[in-house]
C-alpha cells in the first residue's frame, strides 16, 4: 500500500465511523429543526398541501399576544422555579446519605431508582389516587398532622402545586444519580484530613463537599431547567388528559401540542416551539456564564 493511499484511508475511515451519527443528527434533529423554523414563518400553513397564505412574523405576533400562551409561559415558569431548586436540594440530601456507608442503604437505593424504570403514566395514576381529597394517602398523612384535607385535584388554584409535587418526585432519582456520581468523584482523603482536624459533618459539607460539587450542581440545574421547561406528559395521568382540572394549567409544550394535534395550526405551533427554544437557549447560556464565575478551582 502506498503512503498516499494510507493517508487517504486515514482521513476517510473516521468519517465513515462518524457518518451514522451525523446521518441521524441531520435526519432527526437538524432537518426537523430547520423545517420548524421555516414553518413558523408561514401563516395558515397546510401540512398536506404545503400551501400557506403569507410569509412573515404573523404567527409570532399571534402567539405572543395570546393569553393562553402567556398563561402557559407563566405556569411553566412557576413550575420550573419551584421544581428545580426543590428537587436539587432534596437530591443533595439523599445523594449525601447514599454516599455514606449506612445500614439498609441497599433497600433505599432500589427504592429511589424505581421511578426511572417504571412508566410515568402508571405512576401518575398512582399519584392521582394519592392526591384524592377524600381517601388519598397524602391527605391521610396530613390529617395525622392535623392539617385539613387539601383539594389537590378538584380546586383549580391548587393544581400547580400538585403538578410541582409530582414533578419533583419525578426528576428526583435522575438528579440524585447525577449528584451521587459527582460526590463519588471527590477524593475521600479531603474528608479524612478535615476530620483529623476535628471538622464537624456540617462544616465538611459546607466547606468541602458543596464547593467541590458545584460543577455537578451547575450541570444538574441546567439539565433540569431544560427538562422541566418541557413539562407536559406529567399533566395527562393526574388531570385525566386535561391541562389542569379547569383547563387552567396550560404549559408551553401542552399549548404547542394543543395547537398542533387539536387545532392543526402548524404555523403557530412552530412559532411557539421556536420561542420556547430561544428561552431555553438564553437560560442555558446565562447559567453557563454564572457557573463560570462560580467555579472554585
Amino acid at each position: 500500500m502506498s503512503r498516499q493511499q494510507f493517508s487517504l484511508n486515514n482521513k476517510i475511515e473516521p468519517i465513515l465511523y462518524l457518518s451514522p451519527f451525523f446521518f441521524g443528527l441531520i435526519i432527526w434533529t437538524l432537518y426537523p429543526f430547520i423545517n420548524v423554523l421555516l414553518i413558523s414563518f408561514k401563516e395558515n400553513y397546510n401540512l398536506l398541501t404545503g400551501s400557506y397564505k403569507n410569509l412573515g412574523l404573523g404567527n409570532y405576533i399571534y402567539v405572543l399576544n395570546n393569553l393562553k400562551f402567556l398563561n402557559a409561559l407563566r405556569n411553566t415558569g412557576i413550575y420550573v422555579i419551584f421544581t428545580v431548586p426543590i428537587s436539587t436540594f432534596l437530591a443533595l440530601i439523599f445523594a449525601n446519605l447514599l454516599n455514606q456507608k449506612l445500614k439498609g442503604i441497599a433497600l433505599f437505593q432500589t427504592a429511589y431508582f424505581l421511578p426511572l424504570v417504571t412508566s410515568a403514566t402508571a405512576i401518575g395514576l398512582v399519584w392521582k389516587l394519592m392526591f384524592n381529597t377524600n381517601f388519598g394517602a397524602i391527605n391521610q398523612i396530613l390529617s395525622y398532622l392535623n392539617i385539613s384535607p387539601i383539594h389537590w385535584l378538584d380546586y383549580p388554584k391548587n393544581n400547580i402545586y400538585t403538578l410541582i409535587i409530582f414533578g419533583v418526585w419525578n426528576i428526583l432519582p435522575f438528579t440524585i444519580i447525577l449528584l451521587l456520581s459527582g460526590l463519588q468523584n471527590i477524593n475521600p482523603l479531603y474528608y479524612t484530613v478535615a476530620k483529623l482536624d476535628g471538622a464537624s459533618d456540617f462544616k465538611i459539607f459546607r466547606r468541602i463537599t458543596i464547593p467541590l460539587l458545584s460543577p455537578t450542581i451547575g450541570l444538574v440545574l441546567i439539565i433540569n431547567t431544560i427538562s422541566t421547561s418541557k413539562v407536559y406528559s406529567e399533566l395527562f395521568p393526574i388531570f385525566s388528559g386535561r391541562p389542569g382540572i379547569a383547563d387552567n394549567l396550560y404549559t408551553v409544550v401542552y399549548y404547542i401540542y394543543d395547537l398542533f394535534y387539536v387545532k392543526w395550526d402548524l404555523g403557530k405551533a412552530a412559532a411557539a416551539s421556536v420561542i420556547l427554544f430561544l428561552i431555553l437557549f438564553a437560560l442555558t447560556l446565562s447559567q453557563l456564564q454564572i457557573q463560570k464565575k462560580w467555579k472554585h478551582y
Partner: protein, 345 residues
C-alpha cells in the same frame, strides 16, 4: 512529646501487618520508618495517628494512654503522600483551615497562617490555588497546614515520593530544617534508605511487619544486627556470599576466602564495598576485575569471584586492568557474618 509503643500489633484478618512492636520515640527527634513496600510502615503510622485502630498492645503519648483516643484529639499533624490540599481553597485558606475548624477568629488565624507560610517559605504564594503550585510548593503548604495547630507530633507518610530527584533532595533538607526550627517530634515514612540515612536521628527498620533494628543511621550501617539490615542500607549495596566456614577458610563453590571465625558452619559473609583492600602479598582471596566505571568522583570496580560479582571502589594507586587477577584483603570494619537465620554472629 515522647511516643511509646507497647507490644503494638495490627492484624488484617489473620495477616499481621505490624507484629508486636515495642519502641520509644524521644521528644524532638526525627524518626524514619524505613522498609520495603508492604512492610507495614503506613499501617504503623496510621495507628499512631489513630486513623486505624490497634489490634493488640498500647500506644502512649508521654504517660497518656491514647490507644483508643480519636485522631482529632491526639494533637498530631499529618502530611499525606499526595498532600490532599483542598483544591478549591487558596494557600492561605488551606493553611488556616484547621484553625477555622477550631473557630479561631479570621484575623488571628490568617496571621498565624502567614507565620507558618513564612516558615515553609510559601508566603509569596498565599493567593494561589493548589493546582497553580509546583509539587514542592504543595508539599510545603501541606506541612504548614499540618503544623499550624502546633501539634505535638508531626507524621509524614512518604511525603517526598511524588517529587523528582532534585526536589526530593531539597525538600528533605527543608523538612529537616523545619523540624529543627519547630523541634516537633516527627515520624517520617519512607522506603528510600538514602533519604532515611540523610535526615533522621533514628531509623526504625522493618520488614514484613517485624521490627528489624532501631538506632541512629550510622549505627545501623556500621553495626547491623541482621542480614536484612546490612543489605537494605548502603549504596552501592553490600556484597553477600552464602557458603561454609571450614577451619580458617570461608568456602564458596570450593573457592576460599581466608577468614577468622570460631565454628564450622553454614554462614553468610557480608562485605561492604569499602571494606575491601588491595593487597598482592598478604591477601585473603583473589578475584578478577570484570569492569571499572566512574560514578561521579568515585570509581566502582566489579570483581568476578567464582560466579558472583563483588562491588568495591578502585583507589588511585590501583594499576590493574579489566581481566587482571588481583589480591584482596578484608578490613575489620564493614565485614559481617550472619548465620543461616540471618542473625549476626
Amino acid at each position: 512529646m515522647q511516643v511509646n509503643l507497647k507490644n503494638v500489633t495490627k492484624k488484617f484478618n489473620d495477616f499481621k501487618a505490624v507484629n508486636n512492636f515495642t519502641l520509644t520515640f524521644e521528644e524532638g527527634e526525627l524518626i524514619c520508618l524505613l522498609g520495603p513496600s508492604g512492610c507495614g510502615k503506613s499501617t504503623l503510622l496510621n495507628m499512631i495517628s489513630g486513623i486505624i485502630p490497634v489490634t493488640e498492645g498500647k500506644i502512649f503519648f508521654d504517660d497518656r494512654d491514647v490507644t483508643n483516643l480519636a485522631p482529632q484529639h491526639r494533637e498530631i499533624g499529618l502530611v499525606f503522600q499526595n498532600y490532599a490540599l483542598y483544591p478549591h481553597m487558596s494557600v492561605l485558606e488551606n493553611i488556616s483551615f484547621p484553625l477555622e475548624i477550631k473557630k479561631v477568629e479570621k484575623k488571628e488565624r490568617e496571621a498565624l497562617a502567614v507565620e507558618m507560610a513564612k516558615l515553609v517559605k510559601v508566603d509569596t504564594l498565599l493567593d494561589r490555588k493548589p493546582a497553580e503550585l509546583s509539587g514542592g510548593q504543595q508539599q510545603r503548604v501541606a506541612i504548614a497546614r499540618a503544623l499550624i495547630k502546633k501539634p505535638k507530633i508531626l507524621l509524614l507518610d512518604e511525603p517526598l515520593s511524588n517529587l523528582d530527584a532534585r526536589l526530593r533532595l531539597e525538600m528533605r533538607e527543608e523538612i529537616r530544617r523545619i523540624q529543627q526550627e519547630t523541634k516537633v517530634t516527627t515520624i517520617f515514612v519512607t522506603h528510600d534508605q538514602e533519604e532515611a540515612m540523610s535526615i533522621s536521628d533514628k531509623i526504625v527498620l522493618m520488614k514484613d511487619g517485624v521490627l528489624m533494628q532501631v538506632d541512629k543511621p550510622q549505627v545501623l550501617y556500621d553495626n547491623p544486627l541482621k542480614e536484612f539490615v546490612s543489605t537494605f542500607l548502603g549504596n552501592p549495596p553490600i556484597n553477600t556470599i552464602k557458603g561454609n566456614y571450614n577451619n580458617g577458610f570461608f568456602e564458596y563453590n570450593n573457592q576460599k576466602i581466608k577468614l577468622n571465625y570460631h565454628t564450622n558452619e553454614e554462614i553468610t559473609l557480608a562485605i561492604r564495598p569499602e571494606a575491601i583492600d588491595f593487597d598482592e602479598e598478604n591477601y585473603d582471596f583473589k578475584a578478577v576485575i570484570k569492569e571499572r566505571f566512574k560514578i561521579g568522583k568515585e570509581e566502582l570496580l566489579m570483581l568476578q569471584f567464582n560466579d558472583l560479582l563483588l562491588r568495591t571502589y578502585a583507589t588511585d594507586e590501583l594499576n590493574k586492568n579489566v581481566g587482571d587477577e588481583i589480591g584482596l584483603k578484608l578490613k575489620n570494619k564493614g565485614v559481617f557474618i550472619f548465620d543461616n537465620k540471618g542473625d549476626r554472629k
